[in-house]
Symmetry: D4
Subunit: 252 residues, 8 copies
């Protein structure tokens, strides 16, 4: 503890960093930020923009950057992304900030951020074009955790040839995330073809009864093969769980 | 009408037959039997035993036999089947009566019943062992309508090899019924492989959320291919709809 | 295969067409297009605009046109329709493009497209004015598959006279699609009157409990007659399934 | 009040009757019995046997008989019916007690009970054989309220001829209760044909999604005609509401 | 029939009126209008604007006015109301047109329209301020059918004094509609206090689980008293059913 | 800690008691028993018999008795109650054991158990006879926590007189639990009449849609007054929460 | 009563105040206001702006201010808040009016309003930043009832250290409200750590299946500890119930 | 292939083994057994006894034993277990057969079966006694896949001390399965404390709304930490997924 306090006194670290080290979290105007998550769990704490004001989101993002060297914001529409970018430009002008409109995610790295890396590979497989945003969120998170990520798109079961052509690539991965909406048959079919762990990522496509991803989620829960699942559109969770498994395989 | 009345007077037909011809149904102690259905729709009227007493079921079955030459009882447990058999033995000692315990169906034919026939083929495909009773009901009904029926069992997608080995046989059929429970991926995968009309038949296997066939039904409704569906465990409806299509193909 | 490659080398076909012929699909910036569907299943692959960006939709539509001679886009609002029209104007200036605002569908035909035809008739029946857009989608697809289509509107059961006046016309069809929202009684009543296969098409009218087409769908699933159903508002699926059956009846 | 107390003192009425007159209910070992309901609402208070022990049911039934001259017990299985019969035999040996096994209802009348009567007619219409028990409960209650009751059975819409043959009889009634399970189309079709108030009585037949009467209830709620509904299997409520309307028409 | 044709030939009635008289409905560009409903059922056919375009709604409204002397449009936002008003101004400049913004209903009467009248009274009772629009729709329809209508507002059970103060007025009515959202306790409490038939009208207030009127509807279905119900927000149906009962009481 | 260890060594306390004091729980063959709950929360730990074998239940009950001087088992059918009674007879022959068949609860007290007491009063109010078992569980638990309990039964809103007669007694209580099934209007009506905190206890009576206590729970959640609720049939939780509030009022 | 009438005659009180005193409510153009609630229940009547027009809300707020010295409006967006502020500025220029945009609540106090006070403390605990608005509503209401309120934010269970650091503060409170969305584990964990009554306040965060606060509410209902709950986002109800308990503890 | 055929001819392997090697499955009277699953996926194919007759289950179990050296039957009641034991005694008298009544699983090993082994550890954590059967199924399957399994029971969050005492042991595992019913808070709390991948296993305890494991599953889907889940009571799937991950970590 003394080291931390001395570093604070000497200005090497900020109050927020010191609080994060000592208490496991940093208290901000927008809430207590769980800065300790990465150390404790091996995955970055992300800021879910939904349900927060742009200001709260930006405050939490700058705290994340300050205390962990990285900020990850999900479900950020362009206005939120802009607020985050502005706040970081103020607080940490040297940091890099990237925003992906299709995925709605912001990633910022401090200038001295040292990204983790891991030799295990995560495959992110999609059934169709509409699955791209959610699958992209999963891929981004797995990448941030350090995994190599292979994106294999548009292999839905309506045309089995598309899938069979790609099975070889899917089999090369150590962990597989399969994103699909509508009836969600793809995770089950993929899980029958590979020996890596498969995580289903239901997507909120579809309409009518069973729409909004419900049929896809229930299909994952009822799968006659072995797989586990995350909630509808939970790209962050799927990518983080895959990244955790990849890290464990890699020996972290 | 005069012919019918004369036939009744001369004892060639019974009161129930006469009423069926003239009114389109026969009034019995257990309800009005829709004797006209076969003529009007091309499919036999079946007696659903659930929700009726064994006595009511037996009364309707004998009326069916008397007015259409055939009786078809579904969801009959052994006690009901026995009541039906006894009632038919009394009313029409020459009729044949068969009961299938796995399918829970009773089929009786009058001695002079002339079964319809149709050159088109219905394939009934199942994902696994638990789908057999419901698929059997569908096969039985399609057979009674006159279709040739091909039963192709246990080709669930957890092991694609089983399915790919049988695709040739499925493609030979004119109409395809695909019975599956759990996540119900099989109807979608089959419908992506054949050009015949596919009817999904969800089966009430599975447990937990989406169990009792709900996920399988929602999967059919959300299918990213083209198919239509019937309700969970509605083997009779799937088989009859397939039989109707087969008859139409055959030129009836 | 050599023929295809030679045609490509000589410029007779495009890369996308060659890939479609050899691989069964065409890889585009917006996903793999299942160009093979029509050959494999006898029905055109449609682009569902919902969940895709206008750009992705337009890319897939032009690929469809290029590889199959036809593009069919459903659930396209005017902005999407406009993007599709512009993209096709660029890529294939000779193609015809039609957009129906009530149905929200775009249909494009290449200048040398040879539409299929089929002598069997599909009747599309509606209960009321609000069912028109969904029923229109079904009619359009059945027409594109080659069927003759009879549209019989506003015969809901609240006034049986309207229906009984049209029964003769409905009975002339080889396959019947019945679109209805609210309580969805019409498919059941129609299926009791005709001997052609009936496909229920529930429509998302109605409010309160059972609204959004849920009661209509459950009514189709529970029907005391024989019919199969598609999901709520699934006009494309109903029309395609009817078209498939019509083709089978016609001997394709 | 003095009259009541004098009648009690002189033994002309029992403590329970006196309490009913003064307080509006009678306190028993099994709960407070709403003896005043008939006077206040014009309908007899019935004892719903479900959720009560046979002893509690019997106690409430004898109190009903003592304070109102009549007892009506619904959803009574044979064991409960027997307990009620025994308790009444002890408490009021002269009373008549009738039990209907199909309807599961017990009706008892004190020897001096003077049944109400009403010149308006209630039609109870059913779709099929399985609707009989629930419809029977409705008919019994309407009859106890004093209405003339016409039972018109088995006119489900799968065969419209059955219904059209009986429309004349249905139109003669002042109020119509329509019992139907499965897809529940009959209440809507009947309500389109008559000008009397129609009350839908959904029945818990059917299986799979929308089963247990849910589709039938939602169909009534979504009906494109004008009707009101009661809950699934609520025969007592439908019959009592119809009886109340009949009484109002009759000028009570 | 001859009379009708002669009237048409002589210009006394329009083609639509003639078709209505002969066929029971009028065929318009926006659908078949059930002009016969009032004669057949004693209630005016209303045009539900939801799910129709403003143009379709206006066409149906002018047809209603032309064939029945009256038009009733529900769920009309100001833009739809304006389209209806303009269309009627063109087609029938002498007609009166009224629009109520809170109820979202348009009522138009032809200059020679002779409104029905009925001596029985309908009470429309509400629990709170938010129930006013739906209750207003019910009151308007009952009034159009000819009933006297008493509106008794804001007597929710959270303060029983408000209700007990008004019980006398409610008891004077021949039929009672009770509109309530949230937990929907009011219909049950009112039905325990009066002997007229009570119709529950659940309103889509409330949030969270059981919100949107679901708890209120389920409360009506589960009521421990006797009442029937209509769907959530179905003011038209409740008012029409109450009007039908009032007419029957009045001896129509 | 030394005291505890010395008491264990000297045989004054058992191993289980010592473990409870030191670790906060006792490890048994049937699971870790939370012996510390009463000290920590002021409410006894109860053993829910559902989902456990009779042997497991009996083991946990004897551990409860040994470590806290009291055992409380809920949802115990007679066979489980008997197993508990036998196990306690073996382990603690001097303890008192009582079983209430209507409530399905077992209560055992060690010979030297000193029951808590509290001067605040809990009223347990019920709507009807069927609510008795669940209300009884609530009353029993509140009593075990030390509260005075007033049981006020059968005051459902179908007959308001019953309730208004008892309002005075309900107003005397410091905390009120209101048990009701069906539409569950009673908690709302009671909460409008008293100023003590009200806890709704929905009961699983009722059938059809909203049955099994669902409507009653949703009614509590949507109540237009102020109250909190527990789950359907959660008599233990309602009684314990009421007891906790009573203790707080009493100054514990 | 005479006093009230004399005060009215002399102008000391308004008609609305007089009516409130005599009838228990005040009749306004926007409904009957339950002015008596505070006296009867000890909690202020709040105006829920949802489902009312701005004008109705403002009318009810000014009536509240006039008859009880205070107005509390919840779920007021800025436009509604502005309408309320303007109306109060007209009717009671001396009153204070405050609006909190995050909580969407308006509080107005008459110049001579004497706020209640209570020595018991209510802790309002939140899991994360998104719970702030709903928790704020609860805190505001508890404060208005007179309780001391401690707000303890952002102690969700994903990082137990945050919670364990604050347990001491939570244990100091007499009543605890715990607001949490997503999986809603926090109320259960807190209730396992304190001996004060705990009220769960589920928040409508979360997406996919179980989203919109449903999982959080179900988690509260299923909690393995003792707590009661209010509906999703029902901050007013949770705060008022906590305030009622605090008042009872304080000896009111 | 020649090797296989020669082995068959020489009697070294059976027809079923030969078919399994060549086709990937073995055709039996009870269905096609996926003998290839272990090779393809690294997990044994289990026979789910639910929905199959005892005879079908026994046939599939003996085929499993014959073709893979091992049989694993889940959800087997004693009668099914007995049928399996008898069938194996006939077909492979030297095999070992074990049945666990609490877990309802049968495991049989051929005499020469060589069990896989893996150095990674799976922790199976439970919240309470009722979770034991489902957790036991997970533990058994993980063990059969070769993992070391640590069972850590009864650490539900109602008493955090129980959990904190065991955190060290949980942190030693490479993969963690957390079984919990009721509100299912434990998986979320555990996932906040460890850095291994966590798989939630919801258990069907609990009653009322959210019962049967629904709240526990939704809690896992909504978890504010990172975890994936399987369906309610899917012990086999959770154990197999954990075993797959353990194998991947171990370098298979």
């Amino acid at each position: 503890m003394r080291d931390t306090l001395e570093a604070l006194e000497s200005g090497d670290i900020s109050v927020a960093e010191a609080e994060s080290i000592l208490a496991g979290y940093a208290t901000t105007a927008a809430g207590r930020f769980d800065a300790d998550r990465e150390r404790r769990r091996g995955i970055p704490e992300a800021v879910l923009a939904e349900g927060k004001t742009p200001g709260e989101t930006a405050t939490l993002a700058t705290t994340a950057l300050e205390t962990t060297g990285r900020a990850l914001v999900t479900r950020a529409d362009p206005a939120v992304a802009s607020a985050v970018r502005d706040a970081i430009a103020d607080a940490a002008p040297d940091a890099t900030v990237e925003y992906d409109e299709r995925t709605n995610a912001v990633v910022a790295h401090a200038v001295d951020f040292d990204p983790p890396s891991c030799s295990a590979t995560v495959a992110v497989v999609t059934a169709g074009t509409s699955d791209a945003p959610v699958a992209g969120e999963a891929a981004l998170v797995a990448h941030e955790i350090g995994s190599a990520v292979a994106l294999i798109e548009d292999v839905g079961v309506a045309n089995l040839d598309r899938l069979l052509d790609q099975v070889g690539r899917i089999r090369e991965a150590d962990v597989v995330v399969v994103a699909a909406g509508r009836e969600g048959a793809l995770p089950t079919v993929v899980a029958g073809l590979v020996d890596a762990p498969v995580i289903a990522l239901p997507v909120s496509t579809g309409y009518g009864v069973g729409g909004d991803g419900v049929a896809a989620l229930e299909g994952a829960l009822q799968s006659c093969t072995v797989l586990s699942t995350v909630n509808v559109d939970a790209g962050f969770v799927a990518g983080a769980q895959a990244g955790l498994i990849a890290r464990a395989i890699d020996g972290h």
